[in-house]
């Protein structure tokens, strides 16, 4: 049985970190429900302000049929969109748990809250699955968990993803589904994950297998300034926020308002920082096409 099923199996699985008082709701089985899409039948599109029918939106891969706004997609849902089937997915390193190395105030409580809200144990899900019937190592960051930020566990899981992919000589896909950058609560150790993951990417190169980095909204800070920028191929979803410094910090530094479209995928493409912009419906076929070319 694929280990992945464990994600849905037991509600207590993520209870190893005690939830904060009064916040004792167990981890939900519906993993990675994006914040932008609340419960209920209808949702307002932030792109065109139209009211969209939830089920319709889900069927359209969480893309607004009217204006093309790409809603956040959780890690599990993303895997189901990209892989042949979720049944082909075997999760790796699901047993890694975050500690509080600095004794940072409120970190455990926030982690417990995130785990309860998302049903995930950390901000990245990694493992092996099949795309176009061929094995790939795949990691997906989930924006709904701590803004998809990278602490020790995210860094370690991604590093092991590249290491195992090197051993097995299979391609790697990482979807930076929302990089909140390096996670503040783990301080300097989060910064060091940038070095660790970048080194893992480079060593993976010995396999002569491709690493495809997919940037989705938002990919910023330490996530962008490490593994996400180091793909052999870098794809971006339309309209994603991509950059190093947060737009508010840039605005405050230069003391003028930012040009429209600043730090979007289109801005990154124009400035030569990504290979192409790919709409969500084309993402799986595009990945498949690149991988097929590598096998030819």
């Amino acid at each position: 049985m694929p280990v992945f099923k464990d994600l849905f199996r037991s509600k207590s699985r993520y209870a190893t970190v005690k939830p904060a008082q009064g916040d004792g709701e167990p981890a939900r089985t519906q993993a990675a429900r994006p914040k932008e899409v609340p419960d209920g039948l209808w949702v307002k599109c932030p792109g065109c302000q139209n009211i969209l029918y939830q089920r319709e939106l889900a069927r359209n891969l969480k893309v607004c049929a009217r204006c093309g706004h790409h809603f956040h997609v959780g890690a599990v849902e993303r895997l189901s969109q990209l892989l042949d089937s979720l049944d082909t997915f075997e999760e790796w390193d699901a047993d890694l748990r975050t500690v509080n190395p600095l004794g940072f105030p409120g970190y455990e409580e926030k982690l417990a809250r995130m785990q309860a809200q998302t049903g995930l144990s950390e901000a990245v899900v990694t493992g092996e699955g099949r795309l176009d019937k061929h094995p790939v190592a795949i990691g997906v960051l989930d924006f709904s968990f701590f803004s998809g930020s990278m602490g020790s566990v995210v860094g370690e899981k991604l590093t092991r993803l590249f290491e195992r992919a090197l051993e097995r000589r299979i391609p790697v896909i990482v979807v930076s589904g929302g990089g909140g950058g390096a996670r503040m609560q783990e301080g300097i150790l989060s910064l060091m994950q940038m070095a660790k993951t970048s080194q893992a990417v480079e060593r993976f190169g010995e396999s002569r297998q491709p690493y495809i980095s997919v940037l989705t909204n938002p990919t910023m800070g330490g996530v962008y300034a490490s593994f996400a920028s180091l793909g052999d191929y870098i794809l971006a979803e339309p309209g994603a926020l991509i950059g190093f410094a947060g737009p508010r910090i840039v605005e405050r530094t230069i003391r003028q308002s930012l040009p429209s479209g600043f730090q979007t995928s289109e801005f990154a493409l124009k400035n030569g920082m990504v290979d192409m912009i790919v709409e969500r419906k084309d993402l799986r076929p595009t990945l498949a096409r690149i991988l097929r070319l590598h096998r030819a």
Partner: protein, 333 residues
């Protein structure tokens, strides 16, 4: 801070000024005040020990930002001979917020690089307050690759608030430049010794901070985020930066304990600016000692050890199957 004096060191500075005045007076008038002077000196010693031996994390951050703290070029001039500055990234322009070149360090030819803050307003404007653009990082990388070609060890001196957050910096790929530097530095086949001399601001510091040895001056800070920004995120209040400096664990001793740096270089009592020559001498001694340890190692061995060192960074816990089982079976509160 007024005239380079912090409120918390004011009593000492005032006392030191009185001693200087009395010494001058003695010389001028030929009157013997040696007894009074001795008493004042003893008092000053006591006060110095009292104020400077128990610095808070925030006081150290303030010292790291002291306007008279030696800058990268100050250190280069004090510890090297025959420094030849090299310019430009060969692509966009010469970013003066990053300096680098070749020099002799205790007789060893080295490539030495670091962000450069201005020493006055005019220089600060020219040097963008020591905040590099991507071309600054690319210049640094160009010089490092050149160093590798000639088998020259690399020394980086790091004093940077962060990579510049601006429109052009983003257009030219600040994130990509940092990532590329981190990746390339990790695999260079020559010894790399990095020293955080003042401020170590996040990715902008790491982009020239991947080394075989990473050292830190006693009062330097090195963090994933500045104390001010952390305070703003946590409490929406930058005035609580002193608290943030404490919880972030950004001091040299903290980083040594976390295994992120290899050695703390002691500063003159009260900070490097109080005795720049002594600070430089200690910096030089430490860098040369580490370089001499690394120089006999082959390129393969250097890279192998460097990767091993970074591979261990981070703290995670592992839950066993039994533990998972036990957790799922035990009733929840």
């Amino acid at each position: 801070m007024v005239n380079g004096v912090f409120e918390w060191e004011r009593p000492l500075i005032e006392l030191e000024n009185r001693i200087k005045e009395l010494q001058a007076f003695t010389k001028e008038k030929g009157i013997d005040f040696s007894e009074e002077l001795a008493t004042l000196e003893r008092k000053a010693d006591r006060l110095r020990a009292e104020i400077f031996s128990n610095l808070t994390p925030w006081q150290r951050v303030q010292l790291a930002r002291h306007p008279r703290r030696p800058t990268t070029l100050d250190y280069i001039n004090m510890i090297c001979t025959d420094f030849i500055e090299l310019s430009g990234d060969r692509c966009v322009r010469n970013d003066e917020a990053m300096v680098g070149g070749i020099a002799l360090l205790d007789g060893i030819p080295v490539t030495i690089i670091g962000p450069q803050k201005g020493r006055d307003t005019k220089e600060n404007i020219r040097r963008n307050f020591g905040l590099p653009h991507p071309e600054g990082y690319r210049k640094a990388l160009r010089l490092m690759i050149q160093a590798e070609k000639f088998g020259r060890p690399i020394v980086t001196l790091i004093d940077v608030v962060g990579a510049y957050p601006g429109i052009e910096a983003e257009q030219r790929g600040q994130g990509v430049a940092i990532a590329e530097n981190i990746r390339r530095m990790s695999f260079l086949r020559v010894p790399i010794v990095c020293v955080i001399t003042g401020e170590g601001g996040s990715g902008g510091a790491l982009a020239i901070g991947v080394g075989d040895r990473v050292l830190m001056m006693e009062n330097a800070w090195y963090s994933v985020i500045s104390p001010e920004m952390c305070a703003e995120i946590l409490w929406k209040d930058t005035s609580r930066a002193p608290e943030a400096a404490a919880v972030l664990k950004i001091g040299a001793q903290d980083l040594l304990e976390l295994g992120v740096i290899d050695e703390v270089i002691p500063e003159p009592l009260g900070g490097a600016h109080r005795d720049r020559e002594l600070a430089a001498q200690r910096l030089k001694e430490a860098v040369v000692r580490h370089l001499r340890e690394l120089l006999p190692l082959s390129g393969d061995e250097l890279v192998r050890r460097r990767l091993e060192k970074y591979r261990r960074m981070g703290r995670v816990a592992q839950v066993t199957e039994e533990r998972l089982q036990a957790v799922s079976e035990s009733p929840r509160d």
